[in-house]
């Protein structure tokens, strides 16, 4: 990557390093995410007009159950593929596969988040050409995945009614970057003493522009609004890319 003139001056700023040699200052001025962001841009180009979601949540929020149901609900008109990031087992991918969607597992081992390169390799195992929507289930963790762009169109952050209303305040970054926030397990909200107003207020303060959905993957409540929104976003992206002049880099960068 070339730099603008003047951003890379090498100044002799001190003499006499530890062994008597000259210490120089080298201006770098680059993000530590430069490499990842480059791969994410390649992923984005490869996904073409498919709608790509990056779903983040804490462990136990019911993300896999929600995705099973989402895949099943969309299946009448849309072909959905799922990339599942997990520390160890492949249980989640097996479950998604059971729901009828092609899926591929990324076992991250000790790594607590997905990176663009992992997704690039995983997508080799997914027949992307024949899909309309790609769902990337990130590792269950509300801190670590935040900084890594995977090439998604939409970041979706999930919490469940069992987790406490103040979660958005405790993990502001992952909620702030969310295009949509899902509050799941609303069927047991009363039983666990979930304070809905406090939760919605916390989300509105941290992520005022995010679209909020309240769902129950178990009863199906709220699923219609969520899947209708996904269908709209998918149609929107398809239209935008079909209407773009050939060679134009549509959505090369995810706006923040």
């Amino acid at each position: 990557m070339s730099q603008a003139p003047g951003t890379r001056d090498v100044a002799l700023h001190a003499h006499g390093g530890v062994d008597g040699s000259d210490v120089r200052t080298v201006q770098v001025q680059k993000s530590l995410m430069t490499h990842n962001d480059g791969v994410a841009a390649e992923n984005r180009a490869r996904f073409g007009d498919r709608l790509v979601l990056n779903i983040v949540s804490s462990p136990g929020s019911g993300k896999t159950a929600l995705m099973e149901r989402t895949v099943a609900d969309l299946a009448d008109t849309l072909r959905v593929g799922v990339v599942v990031g997990d520390l160890e087992t492949d249980n989640d991918a097996v479950r998604i596969h059971g729901a009828g969607a092609p899926s591929v597992q990324i076992v991250t081992g000790a790594v607590c988040h997905l990176e663009a390169e992992m997704v690039a390799r995983a997508v080799d195992g997914l027949d992307v050409e024949h899909l309309d929507v790609v769902v990337i289930e990130n590792v269950g963790n509300l801190v670590c995945p935040a900084a890594w762009d995977l090439g998604e169109d939409l970041r979706v952050t999930m919490l469940s009614t069992t987790e406490g209303e103040d979660k958005p305040l405790k993990y502001p970054r992952i909620f702030k970057d969310a295009d949509a926030v899902i509050v799941n397990k609303i069927d047991i909200a009363d039983a666990v003493g979930f304070e809905r107003d406090a939760a919605l207020d916390a989300i509105a303060k941290v992520a005022p522009t995010a679209t909020v959905f309240e769902t129950s993957a178990r009863t199906g409540e709220g699923m219609d609004a969520w899947t209708a929104w996904l269908r709209e976003r998918q149609a929107e992206k398809r239209t935008a890319i079909a209407g773009a002049p050939a060679g134009a880099g549509v959505a090369a960068e995810r706006p923040r």
């Binding site: 040699s21 080298v26 001025q29 530590l32 670590c144 941290v206």
Partner: protein
């Protein structure tokens, strides 16, 4: 611990930049990290100690400037610092919640000292 991934990217970028300048050793690495970047300072230092052996930065200092999270109000266009503990972006002037976080996510390699 995602700090290890961040440190490995940092070492790659630092070594690449140092080599481009014909340096043989990195004496210091200066980072700028936003308050909402999700980096724990102790974990970053720990990861650095664990990963630097055998690199040009084997004996380097790691110096980090932590940048406060800053937002701009859509209502009155005031710039304000977020309450970093919670990241709630309510404008102190007019109370509007802001989605426009213009500083606080940085994971930035500013400069190196090399010989």
């Amino acid at each position: 611990m995602h700090e290890m991934s961040i440190v490995l990217s940092m070492l790659d970028l630092a070594e690449h930049s140092a080599r481009e300048e014909g340096a043989s050793r990195i004496d210091a690495i200066h980072l700028e990290i936003g308050a909402l970047a999700g980096v724990v300072p102790e974990a970053l230092e720990f990861a650095f100690q664990g990963a630097r052996d055998g690199t040009m930065a084997e004996a380097a200092r790691l110096e980090v400037d932590y940048l406060p999270a800053m937002a701009r109000c859509a209502g009155c266009e005031a710039d304000f610092e977020l309450d970093n503990r919670y990241g709630v972006a309510l404008c102190p002037t007019c109370g509007t919640p802001s989605a426009n976080l213009w500083q606080g996510r940085e994971l930035h390699l500013a400069h190196l000292e090399v010989t």
